[in-house]
Symmetry: C2
Amino acid sequence: MPAKAARAANRTNVASTKPSARSGEAVDEHGNSLRKAFYEIRELIVHGRISPGSWIVEADLARRLAMSRTPVRSALHLLQREGYVLEHTNVRKSRMVVSPLTREDAGELYSIIGHVEGLAGRGTARLPKQRRMEIAGQLKSLNRQLRAILQDKTPAAGAIFDADHNFHRLIIESGAGPRLRALHASIEPQAERYWRLYASSILNDLHLSVAEHDAIIDAVVAGDPDRVEKTLQTNWENGCARLAHVIEMYGERGSW
Amino acid sequence: MPAKAARAANRTNVASTKPSARSGEAVDEHGNSLRKAFYEIRELIVHGRISPGSWIVEADLARRLAMSRTPVRSALHLLQREGYVLEHTNVRKSRMVVSPLTREDAGELYSIIGHVEGLAGRGTARLPKQRRMEIAGQLKSLNRQLRAILQDKTPAAGAIFDADHNFHRLIIESGAGPRLRALHASIEPQAERYWRLYASSILNDLHLSVAEHDAIIDAVVAGDPDRVEKTLQTNWENGCARLAHVIEMYGERGSW
DNA sequence: AGTATATATCTTGTGGACAATAATGTATAC
DNA sequence: GTATACATTATTGTCCACAAGATATATACT
């Protein structure tokens, strides 16, 4: 009776092979699996290591992340709620797939981000003048960086992304409250998915975005909430248009 | 495939003695616990049955909802990410509390909702004329309802809330894509928390909101995205101001 | 009494067992 | 050869046991 034996063994807690942390090792500490699962899976999706539209199996991910299904499962639910993953709508049994990348979705996503950042930008614009100048200085520096990278004959997509990302992040950090910040943090990486996939094709148009950044900086200096909001929205809107063009050319991913 | 072997061995399973569903009973079906937990807990929080700032214990909730801790736990994580619940930031051990209601949070929340709805409103404003007129008709009807209720000498807070809610929901449904809709669905109930708590004190000022609705309707009829967005934002902004006043008077809940 | 330490208790975090359901494959009847 | 019933496998959903951390309580010592 293997089953009974196994069960009994279980209960008496022979405990076998304790995973207890050894002396010096930087072992995964207890209590971080869910976080880890969330960020790692998100990373996998954002970086396209799991392709859009593909089929997710909890057990596979669990094995890959060297943990049990429990935290993986929770992480997937979080990711679902945030839009990284879709639930293939069978009643009472959720089949999860990586959200596909489509032109339509990109449009909605970008406009949401534009508005969220626009709202944050209003906050930034209302800061005291001194603080605003300080921020404008940093923004200028970041934009200079961006320009410099773009002038390279072989610009590294990663570096460009980081600079652009930092530019926008600075605005969020300085002008948004906790809620808005969380919202941005949950949505923004989804734009990165599109960026990464089509980056190479967008690079040529990127000087346009840099120019738009200048307009944003001017508006921050002026301390004009409406203008900051507007210029930010425009930046995302145009970014979306540039992206849409590329998607049109190369096709969507994972939607079939 | 070692997994397979293990599974096969497992399968001896004598077990039974099962809580299997009886013939006719409307037994809770397998596969809906998480959903149920999420909505029920959210409901408890929104309705104030668990007071703001109070201390959540997974096991208690699990007992209350007649299920195990697992789905409750997942639901709490979702609610945390959406802002209904806060993690008392001890590293690697999350103590969860119901988010307190504060003036500051209300401000941020309302402005986010205003902008989200504003964006949806832009979508509504861009619909073909015929559809817009149809929607405007329904909006007018809802606003008439609202006016009627307000004229009662003993207006029922619930009815008012529902009418107002439907008004805004119609705009979302008609003008927002799936992402924006989901976003709204996750944020909006949090405004309801404030509403429910301070409802009685706001009732007097509510005719102002009704007037603002008229401006929204006009803008929809005109098909002017900027104006629809603006009027919606104004509606929420003013709502927030009215609320802030009351919070100032009666104090915050759960922040100490 | 007051403080510090040990102990008990409560709560959360994770893994894994099992149950339920969907998908797939196989055999059988016709 | 096809279609239907049946068996098998793959995968998700829930529960429970136990471990790790906190918090509260009791005890010892000065």
